[in-house]
């Protein structure tokens, strides 16, 4: 990391190349919410505990409140706005499962929770209970008591494994 800290920041956000003139000490959560108007990434504890601001950085889940612009310069970032089903404008199987199983209430933790679930299922397509707990213990939810979330993650896991299933067949 010998590059001087100028104000020029680039990254691929949700598949699109982004160029911004910002201070390199800007937090990623502010880059997303303020500069790119991607408010699906939520701000809550700002100390990396609650997971509401979770995004994928080069495929890995990170709390965007803890990442500064210079640390994600040139990386590939996916926010909740970048997640969708086979076509843009449709729900990803994980999002679909959250809707069907009541995996949210107020919904403020949900984008972060969905992103962490994406990372979990990418790493463990058929997660055990322990893997679910480990994968999501960095995301706090105050409304659901996690019951609906666990049911959603299990269902999403089944869906993601059986990729060819049509929407009609998945409604039980």
């Amino acid at each position: 990391m010998s590059k001087p800290l100028d104000n020029h920041w680039t990254a691929v956000v949700n598949g699109e190349q982004k160029h911004l003139e910002i201070a390199q000490t800007t937090r990623l959560v502010d880059v997303l919410r303020t500069h790119l108007q991607l408010t699906g990434t939520k701000v809550s504890c700002e100390v990396g505990r609650c997971g509401a601001c979770m995004v994928l950085m080069n495929g890995e889940p990170v709390n965007s409140c803890l990442v500064m612009a210079y640390q994600c310069e040139g990386s590939d970032i996916m926010t909740i706005e970048g997640l969708h089903g086979e076509e843009k404008g449709t729900l990803h199987p994980i999002q679909q499962a959250f809707v069907e199983e009541g995996g949210f209430q107020c919904g403020y933790c949900t984008p972060g929770m969905v992103i962490s679930t994406k990372a979990l299922l990418d790493a463990h397509p058929e997660p055990s209970q322990e893997q679910i707990e480990t994968g999501l213990c960095g995301n706090l939810c105050r409304c659901t008591g996690y019951g609906g979330i666990i049911r959603a993650v299990r269902k999403a896991g089944e869906r993601c494994v059986v990729k060819e299933t049509s929407p009609e067949e998945t409604v039980s």
Binding site: E46, R49, L83, V99, F104, C106, L140, R142, G145, V171
Partner: protein, 813 residues
């Protein structure tokens, strides 16, 4: 009925706000921005208790990019707020009473510049010794925090019945115990904030979360000196509240700054500021003495409640009323002597919180019941049955209450449960190491709904056919996650056999909804249901009469259905069909939500009625569409309003409730006696709250309430030292994570109501959170022999050397 997705069948209704939430497209009020907006921040006190000698804002005002710096002299109206007792200053004039007290507010062109401006405000204080406990505040000679004393007492309560002193003298057994409960934090994920926009017509638009938009509007009008009609409060969607956003928080500052600057002002509290300034659950000390006869029948109950209400009143008095009412439990006790006191201190700000004082009371009372049963060497559940109030007995305050079988039903259902049966033969697993102990406990509760006798509790609603041909309902309730919009959809589809795409649901906007009261006290579902019962007949009559005129078919051969009016015998059978995921996506999201959802791709791509009909290929029985009906006559002829009050007991007992819900909870725990850690393994909630309208919402509320109660029991406490918060964020204030929960939670719903019951489904927002704590501590007792009397459960009480046998006893020291 065991409540789960499978059992719910077609009533498993997907939420219309689901797609916008899981895609991140939903704009919360704190996500809103406007191009010319500026940023507001509040300067809060450096001390929990101090005299303000001077405030110098000149340096801050001179900073570049700073648009306004406001102090108490800039408040045009009342410099106070508070729903019940307006004693909290918008800006302190001469005294600060807690670390969240506001002294000044600034607006600047960036959040960073606003922070700089705060730093540039010079406040000179004379520090005072804070009253850091209720004992200190009640001590003779303690300084009075408020003029409206006497002393530092906000409120006192009392229930006296029979002759307790005499009765205790005749009791064969008496249990005396003191219970302590923590300063629990709401920990809603979205901290307080919003956008404040003055418009060209001179009105102020407030986009900020609250549980009661009209109450906010009234209070803001008082503060800024505006007529209420000149303020619009938009208050949904909300990222969680649990009672914590019921009082004003950032609204006075945002409003004053926006009006001063003539520009939109954005406010958004950091988590640390939210902790510092926001409400908490009242910490309470509850001393209880309960006596019984040789046969184990309760004779006398003496209770002394001391609640730490913190610096300002908020709803401290009603919370104490509620606690007082609920500290008798659902039991028949002839001699009662209860006194409660709510005390001002410099310890933050206590206020309303899910359960509203019931949680503390029920923890204490159920603890007494377990201790008494142990003395009798009796099954604690059987002990409760012997002492439970009879179906026709008056309520805890000797007031008349609505008769239901709820109490005995939840008792019986839990008694039958496999989990509670484990209590008879304490679970022992030889595979477990000897320091792991298991136990099962249970608790029961009756919990009042609504605000109670003597407190204005208006309700109502509006049902109309709007000019787009949608069946529109409007209420002043709020969606803070509980699933209100989905519940309203289900109710309307049930009533009119229509489809969700025929509906328009409007909430959370004082310009667009009638005054139908607050979303608090588990009241919204009941009130919405009662309003729709009143409104459906006039609405349907008008719809069918108009359809009859248009078609020539007699009204008694017509019914409402999907898309419009149908011939009765040709209504499609599957009108309220289960929501398919595909359909959920095209379901029109309630306007208040969709209106601020940037992408309309998912939220608004619903099929209109005509497309629906074409797609379904059913038109032979179709008479006329809602859209066509709406063109007939004047628009206001299609609007129906109702107003009424939440049902209250006819007896003059302030705060006394009329409708109660009932719950029984069993819990199995595992205690590690080397570390003191308690793990909740299994839980069953039995809830008697009338018909289940929205199973997904119902399960979610009970599960969520239960896990919130788990935190209350095992880990949560906003610790203060010298009236300053030690736990300032979610890294040290520990709410349950997905690793801490009881994954075997089961919910059993008892749906019976008496024949002809006029009140319908009862709210269940609170009942899941009130009885878990005593069930867990009873289970801990079975596992370890330790009677826990303090929450969160002190781990050190459960740690013991391996070679010491378990001992019975009250409150180990």
């Amino acid at each position: 009925m065991l409540l789960n997705r499978k059992q719910s069948g077609k009533r498993w209704h997907l939420r219309p706000d689901g797609a916008p939430k899981v895609t991140g497209q939903l704009q919360y009020l704190t996500d809103m921005t406007l191009p010319d907006m500026i940023h507001g921040r509040v300067l809060r006190s450096e001390y929990p208790y101090a005299r303000i000698l001077s405030v110098d804002t000149s340096e801050a005002e001179a900073l570049e990019g700073v648009y306004a710096v406001l102090t108490s002299k800039d408040v045009p109206g009342l410099n106070r707020f508070g729903i019940a007792t307006p004693d909290q200053p918008v800006f302190c004039e001469d005294i600060v009473r807690y670390v969240g007290d506001a002294i000044a507010a600034v607006a600047a062109d960036s959040p960073e510049r606003a922070a700089l401006a705060l730093d540039a405000i010079r406040v000179v204080y004379e520090e005072l010794t804070p009253l850091n406990s209720t004992d200190a505040a009640l001590a003779p000679g303690a300084p009075e925090l408020h003029e409206h004393g006497p002393g530092n007492v906000l409120h006192r309560t009392e229930i006296k019945r029979g002759d307790a002193e005499q009765a205790f003298a005749n009791c064969d057994h008496i249990v005396t115990e003191t219970y302590y409960t923590p300063r629990q934090m709401h920990a809603y994920m979205e901290t307080e904030g919003g956008l404040f926009v003055p418009d060209e017509e001179g009105r102020l638009n407030v986009y900020a979360a609250t549980q009661h938009g009209y109450k906010d509007r009234m209070q803001l009008a008082r503060i800024i000196g505006y007529p209420e009609e000149d303020i619009r409060v938009v208050s949904s969607p909300i990222g969680g509240s649990f009672g914590g956003k019921d009082e004003l928080n950032v609204q006075p500052y945002g409003a004053l700054l926006a009006l001063r600057c003539g520009r939109p002002v954005k406010m958004h509290n950091s988590r640390k500021e939210s902790v510092r300034a926001g409400l908490k659950r009242h910490p309470m000390k509850i001393e209880m003495q309960t006596g019984m006869s040789r046969e184990g029948i309760l004779q006398a109950h003496r209770v002394r409640i001391t609640a730490d209400t913190g610096a300002y009143a908020t709803l401290g008095a009603p919370v104490l009323n509620f606690c007082t009412e609920h500290c008798l439990g659902p039991y028949a006790i002839p001699n009662v002597d209860v006194e409660g006191v709510s005390v001002y201190t410099n310890n933050g700000l206590s206020g309303e919180f899910r359960g509203f004082g019931g949680n503390q009371a029920i923890f204490a009372m159920e603890g007494q019941m377990d201790r008494l049963a142990a003395i009798m060497n009796m099954d604690p559940w059987e002990f409760r049955r012997r002492n439970m109030r009879e179906k026709n007995d008056p309520g805890p305050l000797n007031q008349r209450i609505l008769v239901t079988d709820g109490l005995s039903q939840v008792w019986e259902a839990l008694d039958r449960s496999e989990l509670w049966q484990k209590h008879q033969s304490p679970p022992a697993d030889p595979a477990l190491p000897p320091w792991i102990k298991r136990g099962v406990g249970a608790a029961i509760a009756m919990h009042g709904a609504g605000l109670g006798y003597g407190i204005p509790d208006p309700a109502g609603g509006r049902l109309s056919l709007n000019n787009e041909g949608k069946i529109e309902v409007a209420f002043s309730y709020e969606e803070f996650g509980q699933g209100l919009i989905a519940t309203l959809e289900i109710m309307l589809c049930d009533l009119f056999q229509c489809s969700t795409s025929d509906l328009s649901i409007i909430i959370g906007d004082t310009d667009r909804v009638p005054h139908s009261g607050s979303s608090t006290a588990s009241r919204s579902t009941t009130m919405a249901w009662m309003a729709l019962q009143r409104l459906q007949t006039p609405f349907r009559s008008r719809v069918l009469a108009t359809a009859s005129v248009m078609s020539g078919i007699p009204t008694d051969e017509l019914v409402t259905g999907p898309g419009g009016v149908w011939r009765k015998d040709q209504l499609p059978a599957e009108t309220s069909e289960v929501e398919t995921p595909e359909k959920a996506e095209r379901t029109k999201v309630a306007e208040i939500v969709a209106g601020r959802t940037e992408s309309t791709q998912i939220a608004e791509s619903y099929l209109g009625a005509s497309q629906y009909l074409a797609k379904e290929g059913v038109s032979s029985g179709f008479v006329v569409s809602y859209a066509e009906l709406a063109t007939q006559g004047e628009a206001d002829e299609w609007i129906f309003d109702t107003k009424f009050d939440y049902p209250t007991t006819p007896d003059n007992v302030v705060g006394g409730h009329y409708l109660y819900t009932y719950a029984a909870v069993a819990a199995e725990v595992e205690v590690n006696t080397l570390t003191g850690e308690t793990k909740l393994l299994d839980t069953r909630h039995v809830v008697a709250a009338g018909p289940v309208i929205n199973p997904m919402g119902y399960i979610g509320q009970i599960e969520g309430g239960s896990v919130m109660a788990l935190g209350f029991t095992l880990t949560e406490d906003a610790v203060m030292q010298d009236s300053r918060y030690v736990t300032t964020n979610l890294d040290t204030y520990l709410i349950p994570t997905i690793q801490d929960i009881h994954t075997n939670l089961e919910v059993e719903a008892i749906e019976d109501l008496p024949e002809g019951d006029a009140f319908g489904p009862r709210g269940i927002g609170e009942i899941g959170s009130v009885a878990l704590a005593p069930a867990i501590t009873a289970a801990i007792h079975q596992a370890t022999g330790v009677w826990v009397n303090s929450l969160p459960v002190p781990r050190e009480q459960l740690v013991r050397p391996l070679n010491v046998p378990l001992q019975e006893g009250v409150s180990p020291s």
